[in-house]
């Protein structure tokens, strides 16, 4: 056990975490050169493309240290985004130490600080790493100062690296061995193993990634998951060395995998504790928290024929995404679909991408919503995340919406514009503090719903890319909430209904009306598009009728071309959604719904 180190790498996005991981893996020859590829721990295409880690990953490295000993270094990769912070927590709980990577030119960023606090919460020993020292803009002295002042870590302990060029990698490995503590625990004690991640294998079912805290995990034993109280037989345990390496046991201190005939990731809970059924530990490990979706959106197939495929795809996807929730939903405009819950906007984005790429589906997503609380006049309390189920305003006593604490870090010169943005997004208690000369952290309490709509993009624009954003959920606060309906020739389009703050209702309704007017093609009659709260019209636009659509000459009897065009149009009509007598192309829904999130 003394020769084991369990550690993770934490960093602000793009500070070089994955590259550093790549170099550590290469330095320990954990993978043959010809099989190596960049971001080797990121297995999904989306992770590679976006340069982010979504699923945590783990690898055991064998390292021959300068003291002549061979060490097992368990590198537990953590997701790099706030949406997945519960996964980060699970990963941190499996470690004794962490490498805290700071970019030599960017310095300490919002997430660096947030991650530091997380790491301290779990009592991790930290080794700062100043990465990207090869950059011309690298300012090692300033960054060392920030490490000292902003993070409270000893800058002299910092290892300087250029992961890209492979500089300083040996020093990092030595620091892991010498500065991070070995795990503790008793192999003979009752079993306590933390599930910090799960993967899905088409042949073996769920593969649990675990950190054994106490006791020993062996194949053939009956285990119990302490929170779900389900029992399974252990089929196989082993180490993760990019591929699974079967072993005869996992002892206290070890990080590895367990296969136990579990069918779907849904059946287990990340953060749960494994114990032995007939020699159970007295208590589960602390820190179990259910991952609760906070962002909701309805997903519809572009073509109603694809509903079955979407169902299958979601079932499959949920096998290795324990956080997504979905239930059947139907819209009169868009047909059958699913109301889905996500951990955040990035999670939503990732799921959507995966459904498109891995399952070849063409999808339509309704505007993302948060979960509101509603108190009715008769005293009943409801949670509403789907505008379709928003009660009649006449029966509502009070409504609440979730608030977040947003932390935005940026160079000082953008503070005015960012404060304006926060105010515009109904931010309150906005304060700021200087992190270092010229760098400011602004915190603001704002409704989560306001962040769902292009907030991050706006922030990036305003700060010319220098602003970073992080948030945590605070609480529910009273809010004057209304349901905005969009009517096309007086018929409400259910998929476009949304819940917004009264002050924002007109603006949002106007935006929808204008977008629809731009994207719905002219038809043989005039189309009125209206935004309404209850019976009151708050925004409108009109699409004039087209009055000319005829080929002047049916030349030389070429009827085929004309008929084929007509057949194509008729085919296209099938993909149109009929609202009353108005044909709305899918593109109009896409344009309206997209414009809010991806402006």
């Amino acid at each position: 056990m003394d020769n084991v180190r369990n550690f993770c790498i934490i960093a602000h996005i793009d500070h070089g975490k994955s590259t550093l991981a790549d170099r550590l893996i290469q330095a320990c020859n954990a993978v043959e050169e010809r099989k190596f590829r960049d971001q080797i721990l990121d297995q999904m295409d989306i992770e590679r493309e976006r340069g982010i880690t979504i699923k945590s990953n783990t690898v055991t490295l064998l390292y021959d240290a300068q003291d002549g000993e061979r060490y097992k270094l368990n590198l537990i990769d953590t997701p790099g985004h706030v949406d997945f912070s519960h996964e980060v927590r699970r990963s941190l709980m499996s470690c004794e130490g962490a490498l805290l990577v700071v970019d030599a030119s960017q310095g300490v960023e919002a997430q660096t600080v947030a991650n530091l606090y997380l790491a301290l919460e779990y009592d991790l020993e930290l080794v700062p790493v100043i990465n990207k020292i090869d950059l011309p803009s690298a300012d090692i002295d300033r960054v060392a100062e920030e490490i000292d002042e902003d993070l409270g870590l000893d800058p002299f302990e910092a290892v300087q690296t250029s992961a890209k060029n492979g500089v300083g990698i040996d020093n990092v490995l030595e620091a892991i061995v010498t500065k991070l503590p070995a795990p503790q625990g008793d192999p003979a004690a009752p079993l306590q193993a933390l599930i910090f991640d799960a993967q899905y294998d088409a042949y073996r079912g769920v593969v649990l990634l675990v950190r054994v805290k106490e006791g020993t995990l062996r194949p053939g034993r009956k285990i119990q998951l302490m929170h779900t109280e389900k029992e399974y037989d252990v089929e196989e345990v082993g180490l993760l060395q990019l591929e699974r390496k079967k072993d005869d046991k996992l002892e206290a201190g070890a990080v590895g995998y367990v296969i136990a005939g579990i069918k779907a990731v849904r059946d287990i809970a990340i953060g749960d504790t494994i114990t032995e059924a007939d020699n159970a530990a007295a208590e589960p490990l602390p820190g179990y928290k259910e991952a609760k979706p906070v962002v909701f959106s309805s997903i519809y197939p572009m073509s109603t024929d694809d509903y079955e495929d979407l169902t299958k795809a979601l079932d499959k996807l949920a096998l290795n995404d324990a956080a997504i929730t979905y239930e059947k939903d139907s819209s009169s405009a868009l047909g059958f679909g699913f109301r889905c819950g996500f951990l955040g906007l990035l999670h939503l984005d990732v799921v959507q991408e995966r459904l498109k790429r891995e399952y070849g589906l063409s999808l339509l997503l309704s505007a993302p919503s948060v979960k509101y609380r509603v108190l009715l006049e008769d005293g009943e309390e409801l949670e509403v995340e789907n505008p379709m189920f928003f009660p009649d305003p006449a029966n509502i006593a009070t409504t609440w919406e979730p608030f977040i604490k947003a932390a935005i870090m940026m160079p000082e010169r953008y503070i005015g514009a960012v404060m304006d943005l926060c105010r515009e997004r109904r931010g309150v208690n906005t304060t700021f503090s200087y992190l270092a000369v010229g760098r400011v952290e602004l915190t603001s309490e704002m409704p989560l719903a306001e962040v769902l709509f292009d907030f991050y993009d706006k922030l990036k624009t305003i700060t010319q890319g220098y602003g970073s954003f992080d948030y945590e959920l605070l609480d529910y606060r009273e809010s004057d909430l209304v349901k905005v309906d969009i009517l096309v020739n007086s018929e409400p389009v259910d998929a476009l209904a949304q819940l917004v703050h009264r002050d924002k209702a007109r603006q949002r309704a106007l935006h929808y009306c204008e977008k629809l007017a731009e994207t719905i093609p002219k038809q043989q009659f005039k189309i009125a598009i209206q935004g309404a709260i209850g019976g009151k019209i708050i925004a409108r636009s009109t699409i004039g009728a087209f009055r000319k659509d005829v080929t002047a000459k049916c030349y030389g009897g070429d009827i085929t071309r004309k008929r084929k065009l007509l057949e194509k149009q008729r085919e296209g009509k099938k993909r149109m959604k009929m609202v009353g007598a108005v044909e709305i192309p899918q593109a109009a829904f896409v344009a309206v719904l997209k414009s809010e999130t991806d402006k």
Binding site: Q524, R547, K553, G557, E567
Partner: protein, 379 residues
């Protein structure tokens, strides 16, 4: 109705900037070779045409500019047709002609060939408009051509006009129409300018040098044209066609609109036998080579399903004032064209069509959107 024969003559003195038909500029030798190939194509069809095409009673020379062929060449083509194809004894022959080709001599010669309808590609009586359209004749030449044609005693003299040019207003177009009517023709074809992609105008449009008339103005001008000509005694009978009296309606073109079979000869020509459509190679080269090899120069063909026939029937008939008689279509196609009742009611309410028994007829406003009527009406 008996079937018709269409002959495509691809030659033009110059290629007009708006034209996307199969045309080329060719010298005398080229034209002679073409005539020989066309006669050979007629022979290749011979009596083996499908029964639906037997007894054709209209022959239409279109183009291009068929008037660029010498009367003697036209004569040989007609002779071959009569000798080789099962055409009627006295077919109604129509010829498209450009004003500059109309002389006392040529008109007499055409008349002697048995040509009954002369369709003149005048396009406009406005000098500026003609320049814009890239036409080689001037307004006076257009007028003279019409006068000569009328004096030569053709059964029908038709004038082709183009309207809806960029910047053209109602007054300018009205003046053009009045100039045409003043000459006393029997028939008018008024085509609204369409900018096709693969034309000079198409290129200029993409470059932003040519801005098309806005849709709303085009619609206004379309409605004006029908109103004005109907009031002037030129009864409209199709989207772009107007006749002084029913007997002056284009006997051949009517066949396209009421689903009557026709045989198309010459490059790019289309044929329809009532079940099948086929079309010749578009360019003269491949068309000629196929004929040289002793093959019919057909590029492709398609067999129509009942549904497709029904769609075509409604689509084509909704281009005409007469509209579609659903009972008749049912008999013809063997399939009930399933009309979407809700759409029909909406179109009636919107004053786009009227219904009388089993007949659905477009109004003039309906004709302006004729391309959408069949699409929407059929469920």
């Amino acid at each position: 109705m008996l079937p018709g024969v269409y002959l495509h003559v691809p030659f033009c003195a110059t290629v007009c900037p708006y034209c996307d038909f199969a045309v080329l500029v060719g010298d005398g030798d080229r034209r002679e070779r073409f005539v020989a190939s066309l006669i050979r194509e007629i022979e290749l069809w011979g009596t083996a045409t499908t029964p639906e095409l037997v007894g054709a009673d209209t022959i239409y020379f279109g183009g291009g500019t068929p008037s660029m062929l010498a009367p003697e060449q036209l004569g040989r083509i007609l002779e071959a047709l009569r000798a080789r194809l099962p055409v009627a004894r006295e077919p109604w022959i129509s010829l498209e002609a450009n004003p500059e080709d109309v002389t006392v001599e040529s008109a007499r010669a055409w008349s002697d060939l048995g040509i009954r309808t002369l369709s003149l590609g005048v396009q406009s009586f406005d000098r500026k408009a003609l320049e814009f359209l890239g036409r080689v004749h001037d307004p006076d030449a257009g007028r003279r051509a019409v006068e000569l044609a009328l004096e030569a005693g053709f059964d029908s003299v038709s004038i082709d006009l183009i309207y809806g040019l960029p910047g053209q207003d109602e007054a300018a177009w009205r003046a053009d129409l009045e100039a045409a009517l003043a000459l006393g023709p029997d028939h008018l074809s008024c085509y609204q300018l369409t900018v096709h992609r693969k034309t000079v105008f198409g290129v200029r449009k993409r470059r932003g040098e040519l801005v098309e008339m806005p849709d709303d103005q085009q619609a206004e001008l379309f409605l004006f044209t029908h109103r004005f000509l109907n009031d002037a005694g030129f009864q409209g009978y199709e989207v772009s066609n107007f006749a002084r009296a029913p007997e002056h309606r284009s006997r051949h073109n009517m066949k396209y609109w009421n689903h009557t079979p026709y045989l198309g000869l010459g490059p790019s020509a289309h044929s329809y036998s009532g079940r099948r459509r086929w079309w010749n190679h578009r360019s003269v080269g491949p068309w000629e080579r196929a004929i040289e090899a002793g093959e019919r120069p057909v590029q492709e063909s398609e067999e129509l399903s009942d549904r497709q026939l029904a769609l075509e029937s409604v689509m084509l008939k909704m281009r005409t004032y007469a509209g579609v008689d659903l009972a008749e279509t049912r008999g013809e196609v063997g399939l009930d064209p399933a009309i979407d009742r809700a759409v029909l009611e909406r179109l009636i309410a919107g004053d786009l069509v009227v219904r009388a028994g089993s007949v659905i007829r477009p109004t003039v406003r309906g004709l302006a959107v004729a391309d959408t009527l069949a699409r929407d009406l059929l469920s």
